[in-house]
Structure formats: structure tokens, C-alpha cells
């Protein structure tokens, strides 16, 4: 039972048996656990009471399970898919034991995410020359904040970082990025409010090249995916970057707010069409929202989650780790 036992092995181990590597995993897990505490508590308490109130696996149990997943904002069709697979598994393997059933649930969630591939959450960094990362998303999801946090992360990994203030529309957006650049201690290329964002990118790339920058982080204005003109603008930004450096942007990261419901799917579709999104940053996971929509996005569109925002501090952004995420959702089961 792949993941479940793996996790259980590590977390069930005696303290002095733990290797250094495993220790790192545990530390990271603690961070997830803390960030997702609210999420887990609500979901877990429901799961727990659910399993306590059932002795047999029957239709009612499945129906309630369906509810719990839907409450986590995992998309309706993905939920139905998971539930159907669970039903099939239970039937085929003739499972009657509750604790066995719990394991299967965790493993199914894991399968939905992994889909038999090796999911790479590492950023696609161009070792020879400049790497460009483009950040896109709807309004108010935390693009600028995520850039600040990622800049900090990359900088502390020894990379030379630069920011490009491509949100020339929203009042105060340029200054907001500047403040982050100061905090991180990197440069920030800006133009006047209202100027063409593609031109900002062009200039930023020239400057980054001249100054031997390793990674350029490009901010863009938040836009609803239904605004045709604004999506065209984004296509243009993408084109300009791509023209200056073949193969760039090396990553286009779609930022999604964990409180987002089913609309997250539309966002992922539309932004992928415009800019060839390569990964997702899930922000604000430290609230009570579960961000389950990213599981649906991964399931239906194949987009991996690269980072999760777990708090307001500059260090509260982690590389996404599906095992940790699922552990965050189900950790009480492992104890």
C-alpha cells in the first residue's frame, strides 16, 4: 500500500531511528501540518466521525464521503471519479475492514494526483543563462506576494534574482513589488503606471542579461480569464518574452487562491490557452479553505502544483509535495 505505508513508516518510527533525510521530511511535514491545521481539523473530524458511525462499507458511507470531498472544493467530476474508483476497489477486493478502507482512500487521492507519472515540482531552471518565470492569475490571488517569497527562496539558494513590475494597471501594484524587492534585496525593473507591460518585460530582460541575473521573476496584472482583451495582452507578454529568449518563459506559474471554488478550473483552462501554464502556486492555504480544486485541475488538465503558500511570512512558501499535502489532509489517520 504505497504511500500510506510509506508515510506511516516514517511517522511511526521511534525518534532515535530516524535518519537525517527522514528528519527533513518530518520537519517539512510539520510546517504543512501547521499551515493546514484548520483544513485538516474540519475534514478529519468529519472523516473520523464518519468511520466511527459505520461498521460496514455501504452506499450511505460513500455518499457521505462524497460530501466530504466536495466540501474540500475538489471538483464535482473528480469527486465522482474518485468515489467510483473506490467503489470498484472495494467490490473487487472485497474489502470490509474499515482501517483497510481508510488506507485505500488515501492511496486513491494520491493516484489521482500522480497518475502514474513522476511529478516534477522543481522549477525548470535554465543552467546556461537567464531563466524567466512568468506569474499569472486572476485579481487578488497573491501573485506579487508569491513573487516576493519565491525571490527570497531563490536568493537564499544562491541565485541572483531580479523582478519585473508588469502590473502597470492596478493602483499601487508597482510599489508593492518594489517593497518586496527591497525586503529580498534584489533589483526591480519598473516603468510608469499605465505603460505597456510587454515593454516592461522587454526592458527587464535586457537589463537582466546585462547584469548577469540568474532568474527574472515577471509580475503581471490580475485579470479575470473572461476578459478577452486582457488575455490577449497576456499572450503578447508571453510572445515578447519568448522572442527575446527562445524557450522562455521557462515556467509560467498560475497563482490560485485556496478559497477558490470550481472557477479555478476555468481559470486554469483559460490561462493555459493564453500562456501555456506549466505549474500552479496554491496560496492562502493557511486559512480554512482546502484548495481541493488543484487536485481536480491536476486530474483534468495535468497541471502540477509547484508551490504552496502556508502563511504570511516571507519564508512561508514551500515546494509542493503531494505526500505532505495528503498527509496534511489526513494526518490523524497516521497517528
Amino acid at each position: 500500500m504505497g504511500l500510506f505505508n510509506n508515510l506511516k513508516n516514517i511517522f511511526g518510527k521511534n525518534k532515535n531511528q530516524i535518519t537525517k533525510e527522514e528528519n527533513e521530511i518530518i520537519e517539512k511535514a510539520e510546517k504543512y501540518k501547521k499551515g493546514m491545521e484548520k483544513t485538516r481539523n474540519t475534514m478529519m473530524s468529519r472523516l473520523k466521525s464518519l468511520f466511527e458511525s459505520y461498521d460496514v462499507i455501504n452506499d450511505d458511507l460513500f455518499e457521505e464521503l462524497e460530501e466530504i470531498f466536495i466540501m474540500a472544493d475538489i471538483g464535482v467530476s473528480t469527486v465522482l471519479e474518485v468515489i467510483n474508483k473506490l467503489r470498484a476497489d472495494v467490490r473487487m477486493r472485497n474489502i470490509t475492514d474499515m482501517s483497510e478502507f481508510q488506507k485505500i482512500i488515501v492511496d486513491k487521492m494520491f493516484e489521482i494526483y500522480v497518475k502514474g507519472e513522476i511529478v516534477n515540482t522543481n522549477l525548470n531552471i535554465n543552467d546556461e543563462g537567464l531563466t524567466v518565470l512568468l506569474f499569472v492569475g486572476v485579481n487578488g490571488v497573491g501573485k506579487t506576494t508569491s513573487i516576493g517569497k519565491i525571490a527570497h527562496k531563490l536568493q537564499s539558494e544562491g541565485k541572483k534574482v531580479m523582478m519585473a513590475a508588469g502590473d502597470t494597471f492596478r493602483a499601487g501594484a508597482i510599489n508593492q513589488l518594489k517593497v518586496w524587492a527591497e525586503r529580498v534585496g534584489c533589483e526591480c525593473v519598473t516603468k510608469q503606471e499605465g505603460s505597456d507591460p510587454a515593454a516592461v518585460m522587454f526592458e527587464a530582460i535586457q537589463e537582466a542579461k546585462a547584469k548577469n541575473v540568474d532568474v527574472l521573476l515577471c509580475d503581471t496584472a490580475g485579470r479575470l480569464q473572461t476578459k478577452t482583451n486582457l488575455m490577449k495582452e497576456l499572450e503578447k507578454i508571453y510572445r515578447v518574452i519568448n522572442k527575446e529568449i527562445p524557450g522562455a518563459p521557462h515556467e509560467t506559474l498560475l497563482v490560485i487562491d485556496a478559497t477558490t471554488g470550481q472557477n479555478g478550473m476555468n481559470q486554469a483552462k483559460a490561462f493555459t490557452e493564453a500562456t501555456n501554464v506549466t505549474g500552479i502556486i496554491l496560496t492562502k492555504l493557511d486559512g480554512t479553505a482546502k484548495g481541493g480544486i488543484v487536485l481536480a485541475i491536476r486530474n483534468e488538465l495535468g497541471l502540477p502544483i509547484k508551490f504552496v503558500g502556508l502563511g504570511e511570512k516571507i519564508v512561508d512558501l514551500e515546494y509542493f509535495d503531494i505526500e505532505q499535502y495528503i498527509y496534511g489532509l489526513f494526518s490523524d489517520m497516521f497517528e
Binding site: 478559497t259 471554488g261 486559512g287 479553505a289
Partner: protein, 467 residues
């Protein structure tokens, strides 16, 4: 616009029932499942969905529906009524102090749109209630939040009170009231920092501000795209602050906005406004009854009329009518008309408010640019040509095409269309009221109607009927 996808789902769910004979219990079950799934996909809270479908089901099971000749219609009616009841029956107004300074406080999660909507409310109240607003920058945490509010204030010409980011928000608010008094301002709108509802420290800060100023309205700003968590967020803010109303933002996207239904149902907090865009005048009163109609694809004529009344200058309109009548309507007037229409906002959004049009619009791509093209062509005409549309000959048309960067075919189309419009207007104006009435009835043909006009179901790439 918002709620469209939901109405489609409901419509197709109900289609299976409409137009058939008597219903069986099974029919109702299938339909309720569709309704349930579509509401869930619309992000309506799970519990609300359950309750809702149960209520509808029970009513649908009644004799009246089962034996009715038009059971589908009956069910539509029940769903509509229940939706209406769910969202509150009437539009709720803002509360102002009769004397003294009225205080509004904006609260909500990060990124919901508090700062933008503080600005929107300021001009809304100035325009609608003749208030003299002051915006207060009490978000000292998010980088450049103060800048953002100051910029918005400048754009709107509304004073902004700020004390930088080093002063405690409670202190800032206290001082802002003094400032409002001395400057004779009668509406204070406080923009607070976005915070998670589980962040106790920051929630205490809000409580302290509330304690100090006793706001007339505490408006919870909620992103319309919020999923199942909307209820938790709203309940938690409401429990701690006693919120008086909600503002639902980003409804101009394609979110189905189920959060609207849930918040009202679970917390009882009325939704007072909806934000429909990034521009600062894109704020509308939330009308629960109209929204219910919209959910079911029944159109929203009242909103349309209201919008038109606000944007169209009456004198101008009367002058236009005279011109129609006397057929002195020329290209200058045409241009003015286009301007008026564009003032109403997004055309597709407008058309969707018309009953029955909503679901047919999907395949039609209205290119707002065509208006720009028309304007460009008219701008390339000489004053003489604009006043005397009949003089347009081939060489003039070629010149206009060149000047506006369009091709001659387009200029020809414009000229032809203009002519047809003029003819139609004249006919309409000279009609007696009875004919007019007959014409307004659905299905009646407009005199001089252009054949390409509606093309129902003809599919993709239809042009706007107008051009």
C-alpha cells in the same frame, strides 16, 4: 455574465421534464439530482444545496405539480421561488446617519477587493446620496496598500486620510474622524487590511476599531469565486463583528457565484452590492429577486432599464427622437448614439439581461471593436458628408475607407445599414400607438427588419445583429 452556466444546467435539467406529460416520482428524482449537481458545481455550499433540493422536491411532489398539464413550468416556478427566498426577498439599502458622520468599514480576506470597493462605494454614495466621502487607509500591513488607496482617491477626486504604515490602525481611524469633522465630510469609509478569519490578533484589531467608531455598516467583501469555504469565512466574520452586509466582487468573470446563495442562507447577512469590473464605477446594487430570475435564464429587464436611465441623457434622447421623426438623422447623430450605447458598458452583458436572449448568446461573439471601426469610419467623413449621408459615392467611400483603415466593403455596409436604420426609425416614429403595441409583442416582425438580424441557432461566428 454571472450565473449563466448555472441557468444552463438548470434549464437542461428541466428540459427533461418540460414538455412532457404527467411526472412520475422518478422524474423528479432525476431532476433534483441535476439541480443538486449543478448547484454544487456553482459552488453553492453543500448544506445549502441539500436543504434547497429537499424543499424544492417536497413542493414538486405535491399534487399540483404531478397532476398539472405543464409540470415542468410548475417546477421552474418552484425553483425560482425557492431561489428568491434563499437569497432574501428584497434589495437591502445602506444605512446612513441622519445627522453627523456616517461610517462604513470594509472587512474581508486578502485579495477580495476591499480597497477597490471602498473607492467604488465612495463615488457611488457621492453620486447617489450626495455624500461627501473620506477614504481612510487603515491597511498598514500589505506593502503599498496605502499607495493604492491614495491613487484611487486621486482618480475619483475623493480625499484620502492616511498616516503611513507606522501608526496603529485604531489610532489612524480615531484621527480620521477628527479630520472628517474639520473638513466637513459626512461619510467615512475605512479600508482595513485583509486578514484570515482565523487570525485572532488581527480580528481583535477589527473589533477595537468597531468598538471605537461604532460603524453604521460593516461590509464583508467576498470574492464571488470563493468555493465551499465562503460560508465558513462569512460566518466567522459575522460572529466576531456582526457584519451588516456583504459585497460580492469579481462577478464580471464566469464564476457562477454560488457563494451569494450560501452566504445569505447560512449567515442571514444580506448581500448589498456586486462588483462587476475593475473600473471604479462598476458597482451595482444586489437585487436578490432579479438575481433569481437571472439564475433561471429569465432575464433581468429591470437592471437593464435602470442602467439605461442612468447612462442616457434624457434631453439628448428627446432630441434624437425628433430627428428620427423628421428624418434629419445623420452620421453625427449616429455617432452620438453609438457613444451612448457604449456608455452602458459591455454589450454582451447588456443583451444577456434581455429575457430569452441569455442562452442563445453563447455562440455569438460580439466584437466591441466594431463600434470603434464604425466610429473611425464616421470620423473619416467630412462634415458635409456626415450631414448629408446621401452624397456618399464610390470615390468618397474609397477615401473614407482609406482614411479609417477599413476596406470599402465595410464602408458600403455601414452606409447600407445606416440607410435601413433611418428608414426603420422613420416608420416607427410615424406609427400610431396601436401599431407600436402590436410590434412590441414577441414574434412580431419589425418593419423593415434586416433579414440577417437574429439567426437563431445558426451557430458560431454570428455577427452582432447590428452590423
Amino acid at each position: 455574465m454571472a450565473f449563466d452556466s448555472l441557468s444552463e444546467r438548470l434549464q437542461s435539467a428541466l428540459k427533461k421534464v418540460t414538455g412532457r406529460g404527467a411526472l412520475t416520482e422518478n422524474d423528479i428524482e432525476t431532476m433534483m439530482r441535476e439541480v443538486r449537481l449543478s448547484l454544487l458545481e456553482a459552488d453553492v455550499n453543500f448544506k445549502v444545496v441539500k436543504e434547497f433540493t429537499n424543499e424544492v422536491k417536497q413542493k414538486a411532489m405535491g399534487e399540483r405539480v404531478l397532476k398539472s398539464l405543464t409540470p415542468g413550468q410548475q417546477v421552474v416556478k418552484i425553483v425560482h421561488e425557492e431561489l428568491k427566498a434563499l437569497m432574501g426577498e428584497e434589495a437591502e439599502n445602506l444605512t446612513f446617519k441622519i445627522q453627523g458622520i456616517t461610517i462604513f468599514m470594509m472587512v474581508g480576506l486578502q485579495g477580495a477587493g476591499k480597497t477597490t470597493h471602498a473607492g467604488k462605494l465612495a463615488i457611488y454614495c457621492r453620486k447617489k446620496f450626495n455624500k461627501k466621502p473620506l477614504l481612510v487607509a487603515a491597511d498598514i500591513y500589505r506593502p503599498a496598500a496605502v499607495d493604492q488607496l491614495v491613487t484611487i482617491g486621486k482618480q475619483l477626486n475623493v480625499p484620502v486620510f492616511e498616516m503611513g504604515t507606522q501608526v496603529n490602525p485604531v489610532e489612524i481611524v480615531r484621527n480620521s474622524l477628527e479630520y472628517a469633522k474639520t473638513n466637513n465630510l459626512d461619510l467615512v469609509i475605512i479600508d482595513t487590511a485583509g486578514r484570515l478569519h482565523i487570525n485572532e490578533e488581527l480580528m481583535d484589531e477589527l473589533k477595537n476599531i468597531k468598538e471605537l467608531v461604532k460603524p453604521d455598516e460593516i461590509l464583508l467583501t467576498v470574492d464571488a469565486m470563493t468555493g465551499q469555504d465562503a460560508v465558513t469565512v462569512a460566518s466567522s466574520f459575522h460572529e466576531q463583528l456582526n457584519v451588516t452586509g456583504a459585497v460580492l466582487t469579481k462577478l464580471d468573470g464566469d464564476t457562477r457565484g454560488g457563494a451569494a446563495l450560501s452566504i445569505r442562507k447560512v449567515t442571514g447577512v444580506p448581500i448589498k452590492f456586486m462588483g462587476l469590473g475593475e473600473k471604479l464605477d462598476q458597482l451595482e446594487i444586489f437585487h436578490p429577486d432579479r438575481m433569481a430570475s437571472r439564475i433561471l435564464g429569465m432575464g433581468d429587464v429591470l437592471s437593464l432599464i435602470e442602467k439605461a436611465q442612468e447612462s442616457i441623457d434624457e434631453e439628448e434622447a428627446e432630441l434624437m427622437a425628433k430627428k428620427f421623426k423628421s428624418s434629419t438623422f445623420d452620421y453625427n447623430d449616429f455617432k452620438k448614439q453609438i457613444k451612448q450605447i457604449r456608455k452602458l458598458g459591455n454589450l454582451k452583458g447588456l443583451l444577456k439581461m434581455i429575457p430569452g436572449v441569455g442562452s442563445q448568446l453563447n455562440n455569438i461573439d460580439i466584437d466591441e471593436k466594431q463600434f470603434t471601426n464604425i466610429e473611425a469610419m464616421i470620423n473619416s467623413m467630412t462634415e458635409f458628408e456626415r450631414k448629408n449621408p446621401d452624397v456618399l459615392n464610390t470615390s468618397r467611400k474609397a477615401r473614407i475607407a482609406k482614411g479609417s483603415g477599413r476596406d470599402v466593403g465595410e464602408v458600403n455596409r455601414l452606409a447600407k445599414q445606416f440607410e435601413e436604420m433611418r428608414k426603420m426609425m422613420k416608420q416607427m416614429m410615424n406609427m400610431n400607438p396601436k401599431d407600436m403595441e402590436r410590434m412590441m409583442k414577441p414574434g412580431a416582425k419589425m418593419p423593415g427588419q434586416v433579414s440577417q438580424s437574429k439567426g437563431k441557432g445558426k451557430g458560431k461566428g454570428n455577427r452582432a445583429p447590428w452590423y
